[in-house]
Symmetry: D2
Subunit: 271 residues, 4 copies
């Protein structure tokens, strides 16, 4: 049986190779997590177990995919920064998006039982994630991307905290709470929380206010070679990569908008 | 805190909208399944449980994504045919690939315990899948695509069956078996199987020789409206879609290369 | 001097290969032709010389690019239909758009002197054209594309004829004429033309009302081989192509919306 | 007559918007210039009039398209560098490639008579050009791109000079000359030129050895505002752009590989 008669269909497969020397950020997003959080009864406004499960899945992805230098996540999303010059999957877009979504999904589902021992998954609503890759040509773009996500975390968390506390503590219906917050500024929400609900927003947990950042920590001592791969021999590169993969992944709930964060970790944007 | 300063980074996100009125085929592929099959000790040349787990995951994907009309799979891959005119995810490529890979992964991992009760998954090697979408402009291309996959299944299975039986029954090493088969034609392999190994390839299980095809069966009676949506009213369409989603998904191990297969199910290519 | 140090920049060049077995339509559009028509004092509402120069340029493009089967144009635009299976420029998008825009521009400028002998071109405003390729998966799409352009020609010409005749015959200012036509239907404009301006729109020249279609005419006699190239030998194909390139290009101002037009010329959509 | 029935075909038009904040280089290439140079009897190895006509066309393109900051050309090609942040044509790829190819073609054909007064163009072989856009994420890439082109110019010119002088001065046939040069290094060709043909390659005209660079010269004095547009008001931007467009375009035949060239003109890469 000759295969050749049908093989012409392969020519219809189009690979998109992403621009070289450009930062790639892969963002993974929960699909239908509003309903999922109801099915499995997530706590409102924030479910610490759900967030830590996201963190666990993201950390597992970073361990499997060493080109991921940094990850930032909050709510049901996680963004991964890849090395600027990396040739992961030959920079093929579909390979990148589908591998990240699949790997994140596998770990999230695998570790579910550790974070929700009393809410086993049911096949009617398994957690799934979509993914996209975004290209950023320079360092400022990358910093601004992650700042955008962290500002978004803050805005959403302030809203959600006020929205849910009005329901939980004051007995408002969701509609009433929504109406109450319509048109309010951040300062108004802080005021409502403080005056009406007895909550100082500053005292809320950092993981809720700032999200979580995972970093492949790499102490850049003077005797360590630069991560700029162009100048290294093949053998030096291999050794460096091996070492780099073993660098411990650290978890923080800190401000990543200020310049200091990036200045202290030059390898994130230079390598 | 103003969000606007950073929001410009959104403009770097590029959506690819796939050509309308074109058949979309999503193919999901196991990542590193050669090693995975060793880790979890899959039977060689074919592990029936592993294949049925693939089928279960594919069927679950079809139940979740009603635009999938047909799926064909063998080994560690599965191809899904979507309705030509469907507007799933607005035909955005990254959304399609990442959703299929994630959903397939979630079900494959979820049902693992039912098919491999004695080989629990370990986090060091969770099953993951990548995915791609391929566009085909006409019916012949689509038939030829699935024929290509089924021919591929046949070629690989004949090779693997002979390769492994030489090892299992004749005590050859993998290297010796590979060398023995180098340059052989299909007829040679059939002969080796029959004469040396006492196996009539025709008697092998259909699921190994033909793979598995899943079809959303829809009996096209005279009194049923055509699936050509253009001529229907919005309300008729909605009713039709609802009905269609409930159509039972059937599993076969049959020849999909012959014209008869497609002629009997006109809704696969016309809708 | 080693070239290799810089040659890595070639990897940033991305070719887009358009989907095989899909109809390609290239549309060429005049850039800034509103101002250009003022600079060179085109007659209003229609300048016959300007239209015939467009036709001459389009015909020249078809003679240079034998894969172009049909072209339809009106005003300052022209659309070219390419053979469905053709491998022109390996179907590279940038090559297609830039070659069509360049070739059309070269001929339009070259023949300008024959159609506007008293208005020589000045370097401050040379005629230029942009171009795009659009893919259509099936015959109906292609017919509908050209119908869309011809309907557009009709709508614009009816408007422009009424708009300009109100100015020319009734002394309205452009603003008054625009206001007069605001919200009018086709039937209203026909009525204004007939009652107020003494013009029966049906008597207007066909080239204005229908635009121009150029066809590589190919009489499909019974003894001629089908144009379906898949079944032909390499030598038959070459002979056929040679013959086809010599097929005369005919010019018409006819209805291309009706099915008859396409039925009489099956090679346009089948080859 | 309703337009809506056909207008769905517009949805098949796909615009590609190129990545923001990334350098765009448009390269225009002569189509079939080997044959064209024979038809119009260009002098070999270099025809000064042909090169100056390329330069004239490129300069005219820069005057029409003020976003073009720099252009480098040799032989039958020209590369244009656009402002990194510019929003020309909303960064739509097809618009960019087709406009550059069309505009370059229009000027090249228009000025032909000034450079080849005795060889009028014939419609059988009009000069045409294709075009492509390439994206470069950082300054080093851009410098390396133009270095690549200038090194290419040098390599080709050294080869062509030796190839043609062997024919012109020593009476070799093209085949003999080609064979003579097979496998030779640059030093070998210099030696052949010097010893056998009495030519010191260093004495060849700079335009042949280095190609031509066109620069929108803009003296960056201390009192001039930075070109970094982000920090400027809308009104300041407009004024700046107007001023910039009037900056004179200068022509050079100089080394653009050394850092000095770029350091002296910071606005080329910073704006």
């Amino acid at each position: 049986m000759a295969n050749s008669k049908f093989e012409y269909v392969k020519a219809f497969e189009k690979e998109v190779y992403l621009l070289p020397e450009t930062y790639m950020v892969v963002r993974v997003d929960g699909r239908g997590f509003h309903k999922l959080s109801e099915t499995y009864k997530f706590e409102k406004p924030n479910d610490l177990n759900a967030l830590e499960l996201m963190n666990k899945a993201a950390q597992s992805v970073m361990e499997k995919i060493p080109e991921a230098l940094l990850a930032y996540g909050d709510s049901d999303e996680y963004s991964f920064l890849l090395q600027k010059n990396c040739e992961i999957f030959e920079r093929r877009e579909a390979k990148l998006t589908s591998t990240f979504s699949s790997t994140f999904t596998a770990y999230y589902n695998f570790y579910w039982k550790d974070y929700f021992p009393n809410s086993p998954l049911t096949p009617e609503r398994l957690p799934t994630f979509d993914a996209r890759v975004v290209l950023y040509p320079n360092q400022q773009n990358v910093k601004d991307y992650f700042s955008w996500r962290q500002v978004d975390c803050h805005i959403n968390n302030l809203y959600n905290t006020t929205f849910w506390q009005l329901i939980l503590k004051k007995g408002l219906t969701p509609q009433e709470s929504e109406k109450r917050l319509m048109g309010t500024l951040s300062s108004d929400k802080n005021e409502i929380l403080f005056t009406e609900l007895g909550i100082n927003y500053n005292d809320e947990a950092e993981i809720y206010k700032k999200g979580t950042v995972l970093i492949r920590e790499w102490e850049l001592k003077d005797d360590q070679p630069s991560l700029n791969e162009r100048e290294l021999s093949k053998r030096q590169k291999d050794r460096l990569r091996k070492k780099f993969r073993k660098a411990k992944i650290q978890k923080y709930h800190i401000d990543i908008i200020n310049e200091g964060f990036w200045n202290e970790r030059p390898w994130l944007l230079e390598s």
